[in-house]
Symmetry: C3
Subunit: 127 residues, 3 copies
Amino acid sequence: MTYVDIVTALALLQFMVFGFKVARARGRYGIAAPAIAGNEIFERYFRVQQNTLEQLIVFLPALHVFSHSYSPLVAAALGAVYLIGREIYAVTYVKDPKKRELGFLLTVLPTAILIFGGLFGAIRQLK
Amino acid sequence: MTYVDIVTALALLQFMVFGFKVARARGRYGIAAPAIAGNEIFERYFRVQQNTLEQLIVFLPALHVFSHSYSPLVAAALGAVYLIGREIYAVTYVKDPKKRELGFLLTVLPTAILIFGGLFGAIRQLK
Amino acid sequence: MTYVDIVTALALLQFMVFGFKVARARGRYGIAAPAIAGNEIFERYFRVQQNTLEQLIVFLPALHVFSHSYSPLVAAALGAVYLIGREIYAVTYVKDPKKRELGFLLTVLPTAILIFGGLFGAIRQLK
């Protein structure tokens, strides 16, 4: 599970960095907590973090479940696609939210493969 | 842990479906990202997804911890109640947020049993 | 992993309590779902819960990964710092969002140690 642990830690670090960027954007665009709106660019950083939260809560358990049935190396490779996809998502979303599709797909697709793979792998083990 | 893995994968799929419904509601009610408000029905879909996120982050680790001390089949049965409760929650919330109580209870109760069961199970193993 | 399971269950309980406080604040300050704004004190309770969600999604997997390489007791001790930090964060944030730094640091620091420790531990096992 070493490869899975490394991908897990990297995905957590990536999410923390997105969080620090939200904090920095609070200062830069003058949005004091608890406000979460009021400046378009701040809101983009905030939505990148929130959307990554929504992805991470699915990605990490799916990575885990998948690796119970299939090779942890394959799981980690799908995880690498997720990590790159999130970076693309974050960069493009802040520039222009309408261009977030590619990065979004590159995180949703590996996650979907991990979920369905994990589900079928577990069902197969029931027999 | 096969039963626990199946329930985990189903809960992740359910959450992804709620996410797709938010994306669809964005288009249908004309709420372009990064806005998360402006139409009552869109906001309901969004709150269903957000509330499920809040539940999922508790439910999945609780399911895991509980199954370290008790039968994975019992854990999975409690998980099935959670899954049904979330479906009821989603359907009723979109119709009328005031009617969300039943679905909410059917997700909070099994999760509370999983947490307290997991906590007592782990403490008992300390001895 | 008993110590890690206990800390996990306690962190989940703490988050649930923060959620109940949001629900109570909805009633007390007259913010009916799906609204998430409109009263400063309600928004503080809501942001405490949301920020804890953002921390929890990182803290729990990091705790898990760290304990694969190092003593679960050390992991649990770092987890205890996280739990105390979150309590301080919640109390101070509701009183005055500007005073949230200490509680925030006491949750981010142990989590960062768990992530980097877990990452280096896993990388070392690759050899």
